[in-house]
């Protein structure tokens, strides 16, 4: 998978590039907005990581330009501007996700994975299947190895999101954002409690746990 990093802070870009390369991604770097737009036009990328404040052309302009030209590549904004209004501006410009600096690298990887995955699954599925776990989105039922698992509506949504991102790390912030649709900073481990309840329902009584805790990042659902 190819990622274009448009970032004027060379050290930050270098760290990001190394980290992403380590995670198995192929990276290219553009040091400012204009270069970034050029590189994005020329190359085929799966995800763009765009800094918001850059010389020559800022991140919002870069994304607006690319979207105007019909480029639909998923964009992850990186910004030191982390307030809610900044987020709104970023998302309105056409970005798909927004990450505030300084960020945890695990968070970056998780979000990049989620963005690249979303592009692959275009078809509307009625059932999701991860290993022996099966989810029927119409009947809203879940089975693991043939045994029906009874879930609360929110637990169902939580599991659905985990299944759609099976094999990927998913952070607590992402879960709060995507499942509860809130974006705030819970002071306590409230998401962990929800996950642990879900885990007790889908893993209890089975010899192999599917819902994994990823240290320093969040959770991952493995087949």
């Amino acid at each position: 998978m190819r990622i274009l990093i448009i970032e004027d802070d060379l050290e930050a870009a270098d760290a990001m590039q190394r980290g992403l390369a380590d995670a198995g991604y192929e990276c290219q770097h553009a040091p400012d907005g204009e270069e970034g737009v050029k590189a994005a036009r020329d190359g085929e990328f799966d995800v763009l990581i765009v800094d918001r404040m850059m010389p020559k052309m800022n991140g919002v302009e870069v994304v607006e330009t690319l979207r105007r030209e019909g480029d639909g590549t998923p964009v992850l904004f990186l910004s030191a501007l982390g307030e809610i209004d900044d987020r709104v501006v970023g998302l309105k410009a056409g970005a798909d996700d927004y990450l505030v600096k300084p960020y945890a690298f695990a968070e970056l990887i998780a979000r990049v994975e989620a963005l690249s995955r979303r592009r692959e699954t275009g078809a509307v599925a009625t059932t999701l299947k991860v290993g022996e776990l099966e989810m029927n989105l119409i009947a809203r039922t879940v089975h693991r190895a043939g045994t029906e698992i009874d879930l609360q509506p929110r637990e169902f949504q939580l599991l659905e999101f985990m299944m759609r991102h099976a094999g990927q790390s998913v952070t607590r912030t992402m879960l709060l954002e995507k499942v509860w649709e809130y974006h705030f900073d819970p002071q306590t481990n409230v998401i962990d409690v929800h996950i642990s309840r879900l885990r007790s329902k889908i893993d209890k009584g089975f010899d192999r746990p599917m819902l994994q805790t990823v240290r320093g990042a969040g959770y991952r659902l493995d087949a």
Partner: protein
Amino acid sequence: MRLPRLLRTTPFRLTLLFLALFAAAAAAFLGYIYIATAGEVNRRADKEISREMESLQAAYRLGGADALNQTLVERSLGERPFLYLLMTPDGKRLSGSIEESPVADFGDAREKWTTFTLTETDLDGAEVKRPARGYQVRLEKGEILFVGADVGESESYVMKIVRALWGAGALVIVLGLAGGVLISRNVSRSMAGLAEVVNAVRGGDLKARAPVRGARDEYDELAEGLNDMLDRIERLMGGLRHAGDAIAHDLRSPLTRLRARVEVALIEAESGKGDPMKALEQALEDTDGVLKTFNAVLAIARLQAAGSAPDPQTFDAAELASDMAELYEVMCEEKEQTFEAEITPGLAIKANREFMAQALANILDNAIKYTPEGGAIMLRLRRRSSGDVEFSVTDNGPGVPEADRPRVVERFVRLERSRSQPGAGLGLSLVSAVAAAHGGRIELSEGAGEYDGRGPGLRVAFIIPPLG
């Protein structure tokens, strides 16, 4: 020479301007009155003189110069207010009540009007000059007849009116000037009070306040507005200073800890001892903690500085309350606390949804954190009788002593017994900042009270105005 300060004030200049306008108007008015009345006096005199002249001419036509002479003598002796003079064609006096004609340069003219001054000696022997009008006509056989009338009486009335008007004008101007000076002094005194405050503040004295005289006029309003603004600025400045100190204080210890940990890890790694991985993980965790504190401080500072919440949307408060109840209920279950929610549906509010969620989350977090296992927590959403929308969270934990309640809302204030709990003491300050940014407030009060070895508990109410 520079004008005295007072005379340079705007009110005084306005007074002068109005006085000038008034004076011009008064002058025009006076002129008109003079022309109208004085003209009228002359016209009336002329009419009477003409009538007299006609009757004399009638007598002349009937009886000639002798008859006219006779009539003149009779009339001069009577009570008539006219002056008569009959002259030969070459201007010699024949008879009449005056010695010579005031008409200068009559020549061959048929008739002529004139205005002249009549000099008389009054009872005290003083000479009195009075204005008069006269009409001189050459009769058919050449004799010259003059009839005049004293218009002094009427004219003096006019002059009296004119003089009174002049006097009134002068009085108005004097009073106006005095009033202008008074008003200017009054105004400039009020303005000077304000200017003094502005200068003091510019000089760095944020404690200076404008005097409010209690007159409830626009100056008081301005002074109150200025004082409110200064209060707010002072509060913000104080908040900033306090935040700076508090950030320095509260971030210094975790940063020092972090630094020490990294340093020790380096030393240990060099000598091949210890677990650098573990040290790095610990360092990462410490960094996250610092960042969290930092973000919260930043959010509070920005909310307070902006004075209003960004990106407000209209939504159902009940939905938010239910979401938060659903999110936090499991937390209570983990701690074996009873959780109850009593949510009034359909209360629309206009607010920033994320900040509202953050505020409610902080309140619930606190309640769950400080209420011991087995306690009870209740989330309630209702409309107050005032119309305000109130979210409240009541617990039956140890509560907060009344004296400490105002303090716990301040940034970084943590009560002694909560020191052992994680957190930076920013939770309620953020809640309070969110409430204020939405035009609301938070209220802390006692919970359900002591019962069964529990309590008294704490009730945190988050109150914001309803939509519209």
